[in-house]
Symmetry: C2
């Protein structure tokens, strides 16, 4: 091996940054063989110089200001593992690209919010670790399936949500109980909103949609609903109906444009994605020649994320480069509003057990030209609230919203209706 080592700098030594340093050390021989030359950490920036992170930083140049890494002439590639769409992470990535240094990042928020502008700066920006952790989903879509016109890309993109939904189902618990437990186990953050409300999944979906359809990343267009509203009752009823509830990110290309949405979905129990449980992630892509391809694995954690970061470094060491969003020129495909979504729906109402209630509800659906697929009424308790479940054939989201508002206003409907979209995957 005579090639010059690739000298890298790591900014941020949290879980991911420390994981990258550990991986580069533990598998140095194998990485050098596959990269064609050694990959060596020469500079570091982190908040606290004296904290023990389980990785030796001796012999590496230390910077208090991460942005200074971009100006270190001895650094070939900058690895950004600080996180966040603004502040030092963004400043460093912009400085490194301006200095002509390739950047590898795990920062989905930065990519989702500023990815289009960063790509216009030119240079190499690699981000395999930003989506689905240890699963090489970015590479699969951007290179492996590059010959295909993709019609849909979808996935279980947030392990915390999938863990919560899986545990609710397996143990018959309510959302709040499982979330509390997940926080104690370290599967959910102290402030879980970013995961639970679907924001993290939306960042990843915006990135996947840009790659899949060759268009500028458009986070603002993503319709986002989290899993707070999913109840143990709906999970049990889904099971009875042959479905499983998953938080999915789904991007679809149709004649009119691209729709991107993150929300709880009912997927048929028999679907491959329905069986991806716990903290695991999965990404599905559908192409005109490849058909449907699914990838599953660990979407987070030090090891899987470091695996993805170092894969990007090996690509750079080998000179295997790709335009940030897969092509130099991107399509100006419009984003479609959620109101235009067409699909089937699961609707669960709590109604007073009185004559005429079902007639009122089904009358509203008929008025809005929504046709029923099935109806399930469980238990009788005259005068008290009982659940009624309806599933529909395909209709437009805008029709459904009108119907839901009218149904919610009925005097006999005692709780806000639960609505979960049914997805064939």
């Amino acid at each position: 091996m005579t090639a010059r080592p690739l000298a890298i700098a790591i900014a941020g030594l949290g879980t991911v940054g420390a994981g990258v340093a550990k991986l580069l050390r533990d598998n140095a021989d194998l990485i050098a063989a596959r990269a064609g030359r050694p990959i060596v950490v020469t500079a570091i920036s982190a908040r606290d110089r004296h904290k023990d992170r389980g990785v030796a930083t001796g012999g590496m140049r230390w910077y208090d200001d991460p942005v200074a890494l971009a100006d270190d002439a001895g650094v070939d590639v900058v690895v950004e593992t600080i996180g966040g769409s603004e502040g030092p992470a963004r400043a460093l990535v912009e400085a490194a690209l301006t200095a002509g240094k390739p950047v590898v990042t795990a920062n989905k928020a930065l990519l989702a919010v500023h990815g289009a502008a960063l790509a216009r700066m030119g240079g190499t920006l690699a981000f395999e670790a930003a989506v689905a952790g240890g699963i090489p989903a970015i590479k699969a879509i951007r290179e492996g399936l590059a010959a295909n016109r993709l019609s849909r890309v979808a996935g279980i993109l947030n392990g915390t949500c999938n863990y919560v939904l899986t545990t609710m189902r397996e143990r018959g618990l309510q959302f709040a109980e499982v979330l509390h437990e997940a926080q104690k186990l370290g599967y959910a953050e102290a402030d879980p909103a970013f995961d639970i409300d679907g924001v993290d999944a939306a960042h990843k979906l915006a990135i996947l949609a840009a790659l899949a359809f060759g268009r500028p990343v458009d986070l603002a267009a993503v319709h986002i609903e989290g899993i707070r509203g999913v109840s143990a009752l709906d999970i049990a009823l889904a099971e009875e109906l042959g479905f499983r509830i998953k938080l999915l990110g789904i991007a679809t290309r149709s004649a009119g444009g691209v729709s991107t949405r993150v929300h709880p979905c009912m997927v048929p129990k028999g679907a491959a994605i329905a069986r991806v449980e716990g903290v695991f992630n999965a990404v599905v892509a559908e192409g005109d020649f490849c058909g449907r391809v699914m990838l599953e694995g660990r979407g987070a954690g030090a090891g899987p994320t470091a695996s993805a970061v170092v894969a990007d470094l090996i690509d750079i060491a080998r000179g295997r480069l790709t335009p940030v969003w897969g092509a130099e020129a991107l399509d100006d495909v419009p984003s479609l509003p959620m109101e235009a979504h067409v699909g089937a729906y699961y609707l669960r109402l709590m109604v007073l057990d009185r004559p005429g209630v079902i007639a009122d509800v089904t009358g509203i659906l008929r008025d809005e030209r929504i046709s029923l697929e099935s109806m399930l009424q469980r238990g009788r308790a005259p005068g008290e609230a009982v659940p009624v479940v309806l599933t529909t054939h395909d209709c437009e989201e805008r029709q459904m919203r009108v119907a839901i508002a009218r149904i919610a206003a009925l005097e006999t409907v005692v709780e806000p209706p639960a609505l979960i979209r049914i997805e064939a995957l």
Copy 2:
């Protein structure tokens, strides 16, 4: 777009070759954007110039001898879709590499048999299409998971076998019935031996093992058993025991070396790979940092295979190159013999329903120090043959072979014992 088009030649216009030509035509705009330049078919070789293949060959140079494509100065890259490990396919690939032209091939037999020698010739040899069709498995293992020390790579690598086993289970049919039907439907060849006897899966496993463990491809070391011996009875009994029977290719790295084997396996019904049914393929890789990653999709057919071939062409157009087996220097890791395999076993005997039979069988297992996990005896028919099923804890294959030979020799055992290895995946 000002870059010069990449001029390719296609040798062989069967299902795959014609599929490649069609894909390059149908998605020309998108492929040019992702490749950074157009990819254009300029020369062709096939057996019958006048056969209609659904793709226009006008304007392309025609060669009766595929090897002549290597000498066409107007050809940048040769696509070999003739097939077979010898003859014109091998001659063409060698000639193209000698001429310094990159080669893209879907030819698993060629790679499995001559892959080590071809790599020593130098040059670019890409073969995403050789394993698991439309699933970007080669890219995932060689690039996406390149930072990992892999401990195991395994998969459902032959769609015909998976279709036959799935159909046997779903409809309770015997092997011969389903094979006959599969042949009528075009899911199995008129001469099915190559698929059914595990040879095709062994080719693919030899390729995956070489990539996963960075060693020269070693087809001769692969232990191969096909699915002819799998009976409807064993499939039904597997179901009862909580297993599903799959033909898997499994390559494992241990301290002593690499074991590679293709044979029917009992996998727990709950395992992700157990649910990959019908003609679908799947590849699982286990790495020290990424954890377990599984990819599934269509493993054969014109579309998926063309998708993989053109992905390789896009990589070449972009200059994204990788050594044939992932690294310049390969490890000289020894191959382990099947006798050294350690695992659990399912054993199904047909025994005469007489006193003492079970004592004889379990006595032999005890003599060979094989410990039982479970035993199942179904139905009583004094003096007649009844099935007895035993599952064992982990033991060595060589112990099991001795035990099986002794059990088969018992006067009360009326059929050759059925042995299926149990695999945790």
